[in-house]
Amino acid sequence: MTDKSHDPNQMTGAAMIVRALIDHGVQHLFGYPGGAVLPIYDEIFQQTEVEHILVRHEQGAGHAAEGYARSTGKPGVVLVTSGPGATNMVTPLTDALMDSIPLVCITGQVPTHLIGNDAFQECDTVGITRPCTKHNWLVRDVNDLAKVLHEAFYVATTGRPGPVLVDVPKDVQFATGTYHPPCKSDVHVSYTPRVKGDAAQIRKAVALLASAKRPVIYSGGGVINSGPEASKLLRELVEATGFPITSTLMGLGAYPATGKNWLGMLGMHGTYEANMSMHDCDVMLCIGARFDDRITGRVDAFSPNSKKIHIDIDPSSINKNIRVDVPIIGDCANVLGDLLQVFKAEAKKPDIRPWWQEIAKWRARNSLSYKKNSDIILPQYAIERLFEATRGRDTYITTEVGQHQMWAAQFFGFEEPHRWMTSGGLGTMGYGLPAALGVQVAHRDSLVIDIAGDASVQMTMQEMSTAVQYELPIKIFILNNQYMGMVRQWQQLLHGNRLSHSYSEALPDFVKLADAFGCVGLQAIKPGDLDGAIKEMISIKRPVLFDCRVAALENCFPMIPSGKAHNEMLLPAEATDEATASAFAGGKALV
């Protein structure tokens, strides 16, 4: 025996990985074992500090980690094997990159001497995931492993958060080397995200805000990612300025939906008042949002007469789609803190009463209205009732992608940040169910509901088995219209009502399916049954699949037809066949 065997920092690569997780405060890990990660699983078996959640498909692990991260603000951690384990992670990694979610993914790799040999379950993991991670590493020497793991956590959680991946060949997991706890020198000298905003730019911004006649605040997911302090400061800023505020899909909850200055969500399926305010404003304050095409609509007609202030931690978000007048690079909370201080010291609340009167007129158009029906459950009504039943409860909502997602965003009111988990940038069907798992792991006693569609939910349905295994009482509230609703809506609007492959034939019986999984199945068919069934769902302390049969052909309005401007919205009352046909004429090329 050598002296080194008594050094507590001498350990195998596999042990280093578990040790690093503990040193970074990781309590939960989502993963799936396989040949190239067996040494790590062996270490996991022999400790109790990190709880491993076994999913049914690696994609589920990735989305669960995303839900975990978004509801806690901590990084989500995933462990999967080489080859298919890694390729199955491509979707969640890309999803996390688009929505700026901190993920640390550890993948096993074939032993270093087999790399490049087309070995069993080999793939070029770092090559494949290079464009869908913020950064990734292949560790060839066990003595580099500690440094890389610490850097991985640092990169994932600082600056604009995002997914990172560490690929560890099996021989490196077996090899013994020296571990060291996290320290500053672990990180590339070249990685220096900017946190504090430029003081002169902040002054310029305040001057613009103070002189505004028709201002609007447009906030996004960056405010949520920045942490609870950013949401608090955002609310203070709204209070101090008296400005109207709208938010992107990703930013819901940063400002409360019951707040008096709330305009609702903006963008393609945003409210009329939010989009009109964006179009007609004279000063726009964009905080932690990125002028995505679903927000801007037609770019050359986007808010034509406004001065734009843009706060973002990522310099590449500035002037990417829309030219702004006052860019401020920095962390939302940090910049908002400074901006508020300057505003309070040097500016007065401008008088914008005429602007509010104008907004009131737009509000009166009641753009989220829908025709009530006493025979069929309308999806909007279902979400409204779900919202009512969960009011005052400790609730987290996830969604899949499609019409149900937009209705959830429109009709479910969020009072707090970190309560709303949805796949915004990538639009990943199948996100919501595993994301709900991740949320529930982090918040065992909270009510976690996945508002789902019948098509999306089938993409990751196998994770119900995970929910049953770990007694995670997630509620899967399926708005079942037997269609891929959003696909069908676009086919109706843009493709001559030729419903090519958007009808879900041979849907499973979700109630029986729940039974087969060992969880609870519920169904509501008539509006009169809905409240009782929702109440029952909430009271059950086990996973529930709720089959909510809704009107099959209902469509999601209001809508900015793709490629149109904010002031060319199609409102539900006006969405007659003719109006829709002309609004969408010639729009087939649009995405």
Binding site: V126, G127, R130, P131, K134, H135, L138, V155, G159, R160, H188, V189, S190, Y191, D293, R294, T296, G297, R298, V299, D300, D314, P315, S316, I318, N319, K320, R323, S562, G563, K564, G586, G587, K588, A589, L590, V591
Partner: protein
């Protein structure tokens, strides 16, 4: 058919494009060049010329020189996208600083005899190209200069029996005493 502007508006834009030379200082580690190139191909940016080599071996620093074209907005995007990569230290737009020297090296093989051979040698002399290989029926010239000069030399060699060209791509450095 008259189609409205798409939400994916890029094809609707016809802003004039500019050519810019970017110097990028990176950590020389496996995959770093793939990251940079992947950024360009993934986001649809152009690469006109790319030169890369380790420049400070002790610090493991490499310098990448990229000549790219795009609208001013796209050029700005490229710089920010490069700058936010973890192993990238600095990105300097040499075209924007206006105080840079650009050089390229080319090796030009010409085959022929008689007057053509004499003419090739004479032109090489005028361009300060050196003969680095010779046979009774061929020369290889080494020429350095900016890209325009090299293009011009190659054009002149074409009728004289140009066989092939190997070019290094553009390397650039700022004038004056300061480093990048």
């Amino acid at each position: 058919m008259n189609q409205p502007a798409s939400a994916y508006f890029l094809e609707e834009r016809h802003d004039p494009t500019e050519s810019h030379t970017l110097s990028v200082l990176v950590q020389n580690e496996p995959g770093v060049l793939a990251r940079v190139i992947g950024l360009f191909s993934g986001r649809g940016y152009n690469i006109e010329s790319l030169t890369v080599s380790e420049t400070e071996s002790q610090k493991h620093l490499s310098r990448i020189t990229i000549v790219t074209t795009g609208t001013p907005m796209v050029i700005e995007q490229i710089k920010h996208q490069l700058d936010r990569m973890v192993p990238v230290y600095r990105v300097v737009d040499m075209t924007l600083t206006g105080r840079s020297i650009e050089r390229e090296l080319a090796m030009v093989k010409v085959r022929g005899g008689g007057d053509n051979r004499v003419e090739a040698l004479r032109l090489a002399d005028a361009f300060r190209a050196r003969v680095i290989d010779a046979t009774t029926e061929s020369f290889v010239f080494e020429i350095t200069g900016n890209s325009a000069k090299i293009n011009q030399f190659i054009d002149l060699m074409r009728p004289l029996g140009l066989v092939e060209v190997s070019r290094t791509g553009v390397a650039a450095i700022g004038r004056g005493p300061e480093g990048m």
